[in-house]
């Protein structure tokens, strides 16, 4: 599990774009300083969206045998922080600033057995892990959950590669995954690696706890994308600065506060570190906590919010939140 999490920037030349599905592109980049991507690794890249520079993370789906070309998968979604739209506008010949592959989601080889659980575009983080487990002749199951069949862009390849170890669940074909059933098949020697929507991962975490399984055997990566609800605009009152900021549907609360000129302390920007925490005074609507920093109890109390990923939602009214900036 040799993690290489040093950030080394290089150029990535777009050499191939595949429209795998109407909303999904496979983009192949030629690295200027090629490095091998270990299973579970990702690259960060810088996108230009209007005047803004966006930094986004994408898992490495596959790599050429000489390590020079890496392929990533990008889902175009409203429910994101704006990066996927810019990514879908890329053309062959474009050059991006990208990092060499970074490893924050390492696969360990000595577990008794494994479950790989991919939800939607989260599959991109797990394809290489599946290959590695197959090569290692490990005891594993590969579970792939999608909303509808046309989004299951990797399903045919995975079925061919993994045979009986592979299972596809398609929500709109009344073939839904039972998370409870899945987790109850895990034992103390099982490691579960997952990447997918926060809702799916929350369900798994809850079941994992319920079954009293070792929490360190539950491995996941979030990138802070995807919530339970469609994002909507909301208003933020910064009580101790007398400021009001509107957060648009395509930006994060952190982005909006920074655009308004506030210097916010933040680091991971994916809901893991807790540095961007703000204290909540009151709110209209519901806080949708999209982070993995707070416990369920803390999220339920709602006294604090990780503004890099979490948002306000409301079914009827226009949502608002009042916070103390400190």
């Amino acid at each position: 599990m040799a993690a290489t999490n040093l950030e080394v920037w290089q150029k990535g030349l777009v050499v191939k774009i595949d429209s795998a599905a109407p909303t999904i592109r496979k983009i192949t980049l030629r690295q200027s300083m090629p490095v091998k991507a270990e299973p579970g690794s990702h690259i960060d890249l810088i996108l230009k969206s209007g005047k803004q520079q966006l930094r986004r993370s994408y898992s490495v789906v596959s790599q050429s045998p000489d390590f020079v070309e890496i392929t990533i998968g990008v889902l175009k979604t409203r429910n994101s922080r704006g990066g996927s739209i810019a990514m879908h506008e890329l053309k062959v010949g474009d050059v991006l600033d990208i990092t060499q592959p970074i490893q924050n989601f390492p696969l360990r080889y000595s577990a008794e057995n494994y479950i790989l659980l991919a939800g939607g575009i989260g599959i991109t983080a797990l394809v290489e892990m599946g290959e590695a487990l197959k090569r290692a002749r490990a005891n594993y199951r590969f579970v792939y959950v999608v909303k509808s069949r046309n989004l299951a862009i990797f399903a045919n390849d995975l079925a061919t590669t993994h045979g009986d170890n592979f299972q596809l669940f398609v929500d709109d074909e009344a073939n839904e995954l039972s998370v409870e059933h899945l987790v109850s098949s895990a034992g103390q020697g099982t490691e579960l690696y997952m990447c997918g929507p926060i809702r799916l991962m929350d369900d798994v975490r809850r079941e994992w706890k319920k079954h009293d399984l070792d929490i360190t055997n539950l491995r996941y990566e979030t990138f802070g994308a995807g919530g339970w609800f469609e994002p909507e605009p909301f208003k933020v009152h910064i009580v101790d600065r007398g400021l009001e900021v509107i957060v648009g549907e395509n930006e994060s609360m952190l982005d909006a506060l920074e655009s308004a000129g506030l210097e916010v302390m933040a680091d991971c920007r994916k809901g893991e570190c807790g540095l961007c925490e703000l204290r909540v005074v009151n709110s209209k609507g519901k806080i949708e906590h999209r982070d993995v920093f707070y416990s369920e109890e803390q999220k339920h109390e709602g006294r604090k919010i990780a503004c890099c990923v979490s948002r306000m939602v409301s079914s009827d009214d226009s949502p608002e939140i009042s916070v103390i900036f400190g």
């Binding site: 599990m1 040799a2 993690a3 999490n5 091998k36 270990e38 390590f67 924050n104 989601f105 390492p106 360990r108 080889y109 000595s110 590695a132 090569r135 290692a136 929490i215 360190t216 491995r219 996941y220 990566e221 979030t222 991971c268 893991e272 570190c273 807790g274 993995v292 920093f293 707070y294 416990s295 109890e297 803390q298």
Partner: protein, 370 residues
């Protein structure tokens, strides 16, 4: 017509090290519940044992602020606690406890490297963990076979590991470096045979009907106290990639059939050497002298260990001086002699191993290195 230069790099002066290999990180006795720090292949490691005795090798830097975990203490069944802010990792390098928060950051891990105890050593694998098959550990069975006994030490050598491998692959240097113990002129006079496979090299040398040098005279007398005559002496050097060298050595009463396989009238030792790169210019050199006679005698074990310590001390001085001379003369090349055949096959094997990893033989910033 000039000969074609094929650009062989087998005379690289400071050789890079393959990472997809098992290297000895420590003696078995060195690993306890108290973590130790050791740098292997330029990676600082924290080494300790779990409560059940399993060896653990973690990167020696906490995920949070890189404080050395080796300064911390073991905790629970298999964990280690950072001495600075108390973050706890398990033996897989996964954070199990974080200060002042109710959850664990999912990216909080430190690299954990495969570690295996075998032949009285702790072996670690720093390359691709998917390839870390313990069956690839070179055979050093004389280390803990009940028919053998012996002991050794660790030399912290101030030179590139390849220079030590060179030293052990060509023992003609014994005449000049170890003249008072094991050296003798017959070493250079006797013919030797070199054979090789994909990942091993063997150099065999027999010196028949010679006077034993002091070291071997003493050893033979430990079994045959009255023997005064000549001996047949052998040195069979077994190299196993990337840097283990087991040397079958011994003498038998001359003419009693040892060269044909009957060693019953002699004494047999195995010099077990395994060299672990620490940095490009320093190495951990683990050795032991094993023997298959007079197993009951602790005195002989200690005499041999101390005797070989003195002999290897002479190598240590030469190797340091050689490394310094290499660095002081960046514009001069290595040249090869016929006696270097064994060492040259080793270089070919290492070159291929490095190439397979996509790494060059000499990536180091050595001035004048090819």
């Amino acid at each position: 017509m000039a000969a074609t230069n094929l650009g062989s790099t087998t005379t690289t002066k400071i050789t890079n090290f393959p990472l997809n290999a098992w290297y000895v990180a420590a003696w078995d006795y060195e690993l306890t519940r108290n973590p130790i720090a050791r740098t292997i292949c330029e990676k600082p490691l924290a080494l300790y044992r779990t409560e059940s005795g399993k060896p653990v090798a973690l990167a020696d830097a906490c995920w949070h602020r890189l404080a050395p975990l080796s300064m911390g203490k073991t905790i629970g069944a298999d964990g280690i606690q950072c001495p600075y802010h108390g973050i706890v990792y398990n033996s897989a390098g996964r954070c199990v406890s974080m200060p002042a928060q109710e959850t664990l950051n999912p990216s909080a891990t430190v690299p954990s490297f495969p570690a295996v105890q075998r032949y009285r050593y702790i072996w670690v694998w720093l390359g691709d963990p998917a390839l870390a098959d313990p069956d690839l550990i070179p055979n050093m069975s004389q280390m803990d076979d009940p028919n053998w006994t012996g002991d050794g030490k660790t030399i912290h050598a101030d030179c590139n590991y390849q220079l030590i491998v060179d030293n052990l692959m060509d023992l003609t240097h014994e005449e000049f470096v170890h003249g008072s113990s094991i050296g003798q002129a017959e070493l250079s006079e006797a013919e030797f045979v070199t054979t090789h496979t994909e990942n091993s090299v063997t150099v065999t040398r027999w010196m028949k009907n010679i006077n034993p040098p002091p070291f071997w005279k003493k050893n033979l007398r430990d079994v045959y106290p009255d023997y005064e005559g000549k001996v047949d002496r052998w040195q069979i050097i077994h190299f196993y990639a990337p840097s283990t060298i087991c040397i079958d050595v011994g003498v038998a009463k001359a003419g009693t059939g040892a060269p044909d396989g009957d060693r019953s009238q002699g004494v047999n030792g195995y010099v077990m050497n395994t060299i672990t790169p620490e940095s490009e210019r320093t190495s951990h050199y683990f050795w032991s002298f094993q023997r298959n006679y007079r197993l009951e005698s602790q005195a002989i074990t200690t005499q041999l260990r101390e005797g070989v310590t003195r002999v290897f001390g002479e190598d240590e001085v030469m190797l340091r001086a050689q490394q310094e001379a290499i660095d002081a003369n960046p514009n001069y090349e290595f040249y090869n002699l016929n006696i270097d055949a064994g060492g040259m096959w080793v270089r070919r094997i290492l070159e291929k191993a490095l190439k397979a990893e996509g790494r060059s033989t000499a990536t180091f910033s050595t001035p004048g290195n090819k």
